[in-house]
Structure formats: structure tokens, C-alpha cells
Amino acid sequence: MIADADLPVWAAVLVAVLVLTGALLTLIGCLGLVRLNDFYQRIHAPTLGSSAGTLLILFGSVLYFSVTQKRPAVHEALIFIFVSVTTPVTLMLLARAALYRDRAENNRQVPPPPDEASVEKTD
């Protein structure tokens, strides 16, 4: 299954540690998605996987392909840049949508919308 086994042992150990740590952090984030109580708490959990987990696994991939191809292979940085730019945008939009829905249903657990006077003051 492993394609080319001419990897030195130090690189194999380093790739193993990076990939395993990244996968473990992603699993911890998704367990937080199961265990936390509120949506506004739950939205924080999976970002552990999309920031630290992605960084570590992609760094392991960069290391593996740089060593086996004997040239710097940094194309995985594209994925990291894309994910780290887009995750805050989507999750902030999702949190604002959830806040809008909770306010529309008069849910007492979310803060009320700012009143008109303070909105005009900040403008």
C-alpha cells in the first residue's frame, strides 16, 4: 500500500507524529461538536480541526513529498491558505444566521438586538 519505502526513518517518524497529532486534534474538535450543550458553544469546537488539524496534517504531507521527490513540494500550502481564509467567513455567517433565527423566535437566551439610538450613535 505504501508506494515508495525509500524514506529515511527520521522523516517517517516526523510524518507519523505530525499526521497523528493532526488527526487527534480533529477528532477532539468533533467530539466537542457532540458533547457541548449549546449551538454557540458547539460552533467553536470543529475549528480546532480546520486550523490546527489541517496545519499539522498538511505539514506532514509537505514533508513527505519534499523528502520523497527530493525537491520542495509546497503545493499543500494552497489548501491551508484557502481553509484558513474561508473558515472564519463561513462560521461567522452561520453564527449570525443562528442569532437572527433565535431573535426572530424571541429566544430569551440570546442577547437582544441593539436599540435604534445606539445604532445611530455608532454610525
Partner: protein, 93 residues
């Protein structure tokens, strides 16, 4: 030696990522409201992308990198469209 290390560690990483996908699927099925389901769909996309990267390391080809990039782009677009739909009731106004 290094093949053995890589085999076991990458298998373990794939198992952990599959468990993470199972956790996200549990939240998607159970999730009390629609925003919980959209959130777990987003984390499912991220986990599938990472699984694709690990599979690429395991098979030693860079083809899976492009699949991972496409999964990431599709996940961003779908989560954005679903969040917009939850807020407005329509995607394109």
C-alpha cells in the same frame, strides 16, 4: 522500517479521522436545529478533505491533493449558501 512506521501511523490517522466523521454525523442526525446540521456538514467536509490528504500520503501520488482542494472549495461554497439560506430564506436575492 519506515514503511512499517508510515503504514501503522497513517492507518491510525485514518481511523481517527473516520471517528471524527462519525461524531459529526451523529450531531447531524441528532442536532436539534438546522444550524447544528449545517455546522456538522462543514466539519464533515473538512474531515473528508483531511482524509483525502492522508490517503495521498499513503499512496504517494499528488493526485489526491487536487481532490482535497476541490472538496475544500465545495465545502466552503455549500456552507456559505446554507448559512445564507438560513438567514434569508433564499440564496440569491
Amino acid at each position: 522500517m519506515s514503511a512499517t512506521i508510515l503504514f501503522w501511523s497513517l492507518s491510525m490517522a485514518q481511523l481517527l479521522l473516520a471517528l471524527a466523521m462519525a461524531a459529526a454525523t451523529y450531531r447531524m442526525i441528532k442536532g436539534p436545529r438546522a444550524q447544528d446540521r449545517v455546522l456538522s456538514l462543514d466539519s464533515l467536509y473538512v474531515n473528508a478533505m483531511l482524509l483525502m490528504v492522508v490517503f495521498g500520503i499513503r499512496s504517494g501520488t499528488t493526485i489526491y491533493f487536487e481532490a482535497a482542494l476541490i472538496i475544500g472549495i465545495l465545502g466552503f461554497t455549500s456552507t456559505l449558501a446554507l448559512a445564507k439560506f438560513l438567514m434569508r430564506g433564499e440564496v440569491i436575492e
